[in-house]
């Protein structure tokens, strides 16, 4: 091949490199620039803005002296917001409470979610082909429901007097909790009862996603491996433990990561079911961000909490990638 064949005629090297004719460049850039602008204005700029605000004592109620309302009555305080998180102030205590609640919620949701979805996926996968679609649709239904509607519905389910759960508990002759969502002195295995209630509602709403992912992954496991295990005398439990779970490891990584990230970001279900109560036992970091930013106008403080939440999500994701990574495929 000659150099001329690679470069083409003089003035046309770009055609060879991109595969586009000159007239097509305008179309490509014309299509891409609006998307860049959209992402820039509605995604990139807000993210940069959050980072900037976290270094200011900023409130939208006050007009600043500098550009974009910064400076003057919205002063630069460096790492002041982050240092304050380690203090003894009420704001710092609320932040730490919210952080612990968020971590507790995310970990428990992950455990409960996996404990339900993985065995359930195996069960659904084992039924007749015609029934699989039915079960998948039933279990996936809650995930397409509005979070507000789900929260309101579970609020009724947990109602102290008319609620389904308390009435079922009474029906079997036990004493139900005085209140699932508002009693600060009620705990289950050391976890506030209100938190337990929110976890139940959230897992109910969310587990369909993981179920569908697990079912898809199970269908991808080669039949030959299972057959070989059967020939070697593996029981159902041994097959699940020695074959299914190890081969699902990449899927587990995906599911764990997605579940943790979405759990860290939950807001609606907390806000509607408990408003963070009782006594801040279900106050999450997202609620803390919302309350400070939009109710008390402490946008700088709220931005710094947002960055901490981002760091938490990043850290947990990296740890999960490290622990669950695989260097093989089938």
């Amino acid at each position: 091949m000659t150099r001329a064949a690679i470069v083409g005629r003089a003035g046309e090297p770009r055609k060879e490199r991109t595969g586009l004719r000159p007239g097509q460049h305008a179309f490509v850039w014309g299509s891409l620039i609006p998307i860049f602008l959209y992402l820039g204005v509605f995604a990139l700029f807000p993210m940069i803005w959050v980072v900037v605000l976290s270094f200011f004592n900023y409130s939208p109620v006050r007009v600043g002296d500098g550009p974009l309302g910064l400076g003057g009555r919205n002063p630069f305080i460096g790492f002041g917001n982050f240092v304050a998180m380690f203090g003894t102030t009420q704001a710092a205590q609320l932040f730490r409470t919210a952080m612990m609640n968020t971590l507790l919620f995310a970990v428990l949701v992950l455990v409960v979610n996996l404990a339900i979805t993985l065995p359930l996926a195996v069960l659904v996968e084992s039924v007749h082909e015609r029934l699989k679609g039915f079960f998948r649709a039933i279990y996936f239904l809650p995930t397409v429901s509005s979070a507000v509607a789900v929260a309101i519905m579970w609020g009724y389910v947990f109602h102290p007097q008319q609620g389904l759960i308390n009435n079922l508990i009474k029906l079997v002759g036990l004493t139900p909790p005085r209140s699932w969502l508002t009693d600060p002195n009620a705990f289950f295995l050391g976890v506030p009862l209100a938190m337990v209630a929110v976890i139940i509602a959230y897992v109910w709403m969310d587990f369909g996603y993981n179920l569908v992912i697990f079912i898809a992954a199970l269908q991808g496991i080669p039949r030959e491996i299972r057959d070989a295990a059967h020939i070697d005398g593996a029981t159902g439990w041994a097959e699940f433990r020695r074959i299914t779970v190890p081969l699902l490891r990449p899927t587990l990584l995906l599911v764990c990561t997605l579940t943790m990230i979405s759990s860290f970001q939950v807001f609606v279900i907390f806000q509607v079911m408990t408003s963070g109560g009782p006594q801040n036992q279900t106050r999450s970091l997202t609620m803390e961000i919302y309350e400070n930013a939009f109710r008390y106008q402490a946008m700088g403080w709220a931005s710094s909490i947002s960055l901490v939440l981002f760091a938490m999500v990043l850290l947990v994701t990296l740890v999960q990638f490290r622990v669950l990574r695989t260097d093989w495929e089938y």
Binding site: V63, T182, F294
Partner: protein
């Protein structure tokens, strides 16, 4: 070269987009089209009775001022605050804003609100017309930033349900001459299903109710919740402890309400009363007006509650809802004309108060209350209390003090998680911390 050009275009476009919200030129408030007709925008929070009242007054204003068109927009309470913050940042807020008086100074000191021109009204003139408590919410650093529509009272009265009183054989209408009588009667009103309270006798566990009761109790015992500098707070006092103790006793000894099941987050005084889950609810008289609109079929009354301590009322009063003008408005003159029309003109102020069931901020309407009482008889119990109300003062951040500091601490005392002493100390420490953290 072409790639660099495109990258440059994207960066420039991003910068322009990023800077645009801060540019004053983007402010669309107060449009004045070529026809010469001025268009004003007015924002308020969503409250059925408030909207009804505002719409009627605006229609009258436009009839009298054909050169001004008023566009009225409402937001749910939480979205209203968010809309204010984001739009003020972008300079796109309405010309006239219905704002709660206790918020006004923080927005005014932040440079977001316009000062009232002297040709509309001076503070001295306003003092002649309005009660001190509501007016002073709009008076910041020696400047007037708006005018109040209401004298907001969250104390001194309660909604009462005749059927539930009579069902329990409790005298109706209740005449609570003192707290002992109220406590005795209220303790006979609750309804239980086993150990679970399904109906409260007297629900006072609200986000506004508990803070206002605490302040009232302190004042009625001759105390003060402000420190000597007038900026910091003093809640670690015998008066504060005694007030929290009284409220705790009403819960734990008299069992007039179960604060686990009835509180601001679940079965609040307003919601529980109109759902039939409270025989009486401690709340401002505005609730009677709103209830009349939202629950026209429910029979109820609004009656006086007694002083918490002693024989004489002494309570703190919020400023209440009123109208302010945005500093960004391009039609200040027309905007102030609308504010004055909606708040200071007696007929309009009366229409607002009777429709919303709120207490007038205008003295004249209380001094000659016949017209007011003809349409809003339930405010009568409250009118005689007004001379005993004092402006609540500069609380630094009223919502934070009420909802994040006082309410949770007092609630914990009611629920038995704290002693009244601990609750008072917690409020004291956190309130002063809030003051110290303010810029």
């Amino acid at each position: 070269m072409q790639r660099k050009l495109v990258v440059l275009m994207v960066v420039v476009a991003l910068l322009v987009a990023a800077c645009a919200p801060g540019a004053p030129a983007a402010a669309p408030s107060g449009e004045q089209p070529a026809t010469g007709k001025i268009t004003l925008r007015l924002w308020s929070h969503q409250n059925t009775a408030f909207i009804q009242a505002n719409e009627a007054i605006i229609a009258k204003f436009m009839e009298q001022n054909p050169d001004i068109e008023v566009k009225y927009e409402q937001f749910a309470y939480d979205q209203f605050i968010q809309a204010l913050q984001t739009s003020m940042q972008a300079g796109t807020e309405a010309d006239v804003i219905e704002m709660f008086g206790t918020w006004v100074c923080s927005y005014a000191q932040g440079g977001r609100l316009a000062e009232m021109p002297m040709n509309i009204m001076s503070y001295a003139e306003a003092e002649e017309l309005f009660f001190e408590a509501p007016l002073n919410g709009y008076y910041c650093d020696g400047k007037l930033y708006g005018l109040p529509n209401e004298f907001n009272l969250e104390v001194g009265g309660a909604l009462v349900n005749p059927a539930l009183f009579e069902g329990k054989g409790v005298p109706y209408p209740p005449v609570w001459s003192d707290m002992d009588t109220l406590r005795e009667q209220a303790s006979r009103l609750p309804e239980f299903d086993g150990d679970t309270m399904v109906r409260a006798g007297f629900n006072f566990v609200g986000g506004d109710g508990l803070p206002f009761l605490l302040l009232q109790g302190i004042l009625e015992q001759g105390g003060s919740y402000f420190a000597e500098d007038g900026v910091h707070f003093n809640f670690d006092t015998p008066e504060a402890v005694a007030t929290i103790q009284l409220l705790t006793d009403m819960v734990q000894k008299d069992k007039v309400v179960d604060p686990i099941l009835f509180n601001a987050d679940s079965n609040d005084p307003w919601g529980s009363f109109f759902a039939g889950n409270a025989a009486a609810s401690f709340i401002g008289s505005w609730a009677a007006g709103a209830g009349r609109v939202d629950y026209p079929d429910l029979a109820f009354d609004y009656v006086n509650t007694p002083p918490l301590f002693g024989d004489e009322y002494n309570f703190a009063a919020d400023s209440g809802w009123g109208k302010v003008v945005s500093a960004n408005s391009r039609n200040q003159e027309a905007a102030w004309k609308l504010v004055e029309f909606m708040t200071a003109e007696q007929a309009n102020a009366l229409a607002f108060n009777t429709t919303t069931g709120t207490i007038p901020a205008l003295k004249a309407l209380v001094e000659n209350p016949e017209a007011l009482l003809a349409d809003a008889p339930w405010v009568e119990p409250t009118l005689k209390l007004l001379p005993h109300g004092h402006y609540i003062g500069d609380l630094t951040d009223r919502d934070k003090l009420f909802y994040e500091i006082i309410y949770p601490a007092v609630l914990q005392s009611l629920q038995g998680s704290m002693t009244p002493e601990q609750a008072a100390q917690t409020i004291h420490a956190q309130a002063n911390e809030m003051v110290d953290a303010a810029p």
